[in-house]
Subunit: 269 residues, 2 copies
């Protein structure tokens, strides 16, 4: 375990979507150094087999450990669903947090949340990882899941509040209409970009929208504090990607809300 | 060069979209054996850098050559745009055809086609490969390109003729409204799935829709005939993928129009 306060926090995702997590961590922990890895050469993980996702996730975990991180945040829902246990094992003493557990705990944290909606990619929904994670804490909770494969490309196209986005959300959120849900977990790092439009489409102002980027940022702050590993004197953000795709800079700004300056391309095997 | 009539035709794509090409080849050349490679572990190529796309394409080319193919069809527009020359060089005596050249020749083949529309992925459009390919034959032609990043995910969701598909196409095809185009090249192997709806959205019955899957199938028949390499006695279809994603079977049927039976998963490096 890296017990140095000044060691960085490692965050990774299949691509750039996890930058919404990095952004939330920067806000909650402005004094921490962050190393981000986005597997842009192999994105998206959501359509790949569990074996492949596990192999990729372990390669990235080793990379972050070599960089001396004091904590690893799995910012990718697909990886959280398929490879969390393997990463925890590979990380040894280094604490590992994941967006699914963080989102689940946030949803359960509100009173009377017995009916929880989850939206995510096909892989996340098919893995039933949110369902398992929720039932571990709240076995009686009613979990209603819905895959929304078009939301990621819509977010990357920048169509997050036009008519097409609203109609697409109307179709995907239809199953929640008849079953009044208490909270809706945004189970994909791209989905916070639809945070303004979702309540409008849901037409239910009582439903609490759970943004797991915010949830994991708060959990990491809590854990670092418990471990006495908080850093007040950093603030550097280093970004590694496995490929620099076209429109990378444009997309990164959309997700991070600011320019990316320190970006290196690095291959993993 | 493999001069055996009974040698298979190799077809490859970044994923399963190229199955529209395989389908067209089966129709045009029912007596040929076909080996298809879909790089489902690393799809989509369209958002990756040219260097990465070239590296992947050469790995697949080597794989097909080891299988003893007598001809290689590049069914992927991104690869045709970024790596055609490298593949031709690597293939030596084995003839290589690509969807961009085939689509271009089909578009030019019609009389008075001086104004040609092209729709494709961001990578294909940014590469300007169709523009270059058209201008090589018809330097005076007016080429109007439009990237349509949402069409691939829409096709994979099966939303090819609903209101969302029509509205999305309306936005993407708007640039062609004011400029009357003679033909429109479907510059992505997924796009033939929208072949019914595009004329309706275009509102111009004179525009000829060029499906490059059909074009490359006809060109390959012509070339094999010239080389005296046609086979009448085969008909086997063997499919290799680098990963078997969820919903693979369902998607494959949608693209191929029939069940896939002989599928092997194989890793490439």
């Amino acid at each position: 375990m890296n017990t140095s306060h000044s060691a960085p926090i490692g965050i990774f995702d299949s691509g750039i979507g996890g930058l919404t997590v990095a952004k939330a961590v920067m806000k909650a922990l402005p004094g921490e150094d962050i190393i981000y890895f986005g597997d842009t050469a192999r994105v998206p993980y959501g359509i790949k087999s569990e074996e492949t996702v596990r192999m990729y996730a372990l390669q990235i975990t080793r990379f972050l450990l070599e960089k001396g991180v004091k904590m690893i945040l799995i910012a990718c829902n697909t990886v959280s669903a398929s490879a969390k246990e393997e990463i925890i094992q590979a990380a040894g003493d280094v604490p590992v947090l994941d967006v699914i557990t963080a989102g689940t705990q946030a949803a359960i944290g509100f009173d009377n949340h017995s009916r929880i909606g989850v939206i995510g990619t096909l892989a996340t929904v098919n893995s039933k990882a949110y369902e398992r994670s929720i039932h571990e804490i709240e076995p009686q909770a009613d979990v209603i899941q819905q895959a929304c494969p078009l939301l990621v490309p819509l977010a990357e196209e920048g169509w997050v509040d036009n008519e097409i986005a609203k109609q697409t959300l109307s179709i995907y959120l239809k199953p929640f209409e008849s079953k009044k849900i208490d909270s809706l977990i945004l189970g994909c790092t791209h989905y916070p970009l639809f945070k303004e439009v979702i309540p409008e489409v849901l037409q239910d102002s009582d439903t609490i929208i759970i943004d797991s980027a915010d949830s994991i940022a708060l959990t990491s702050k809590q854990r670092l504090s418990e471990l006495d590993l908080l850093n007040q004197n950093g603030g550097k953000f280093q970004c590694f990607v496995s490929d620099r795709p076209q429109r990378f800079q444009e997309l990164a700004e959309r997700f991070l809300g600011r320019d990316l300056t320190d970006v290196s391309v690095i291959g993993l095997n």
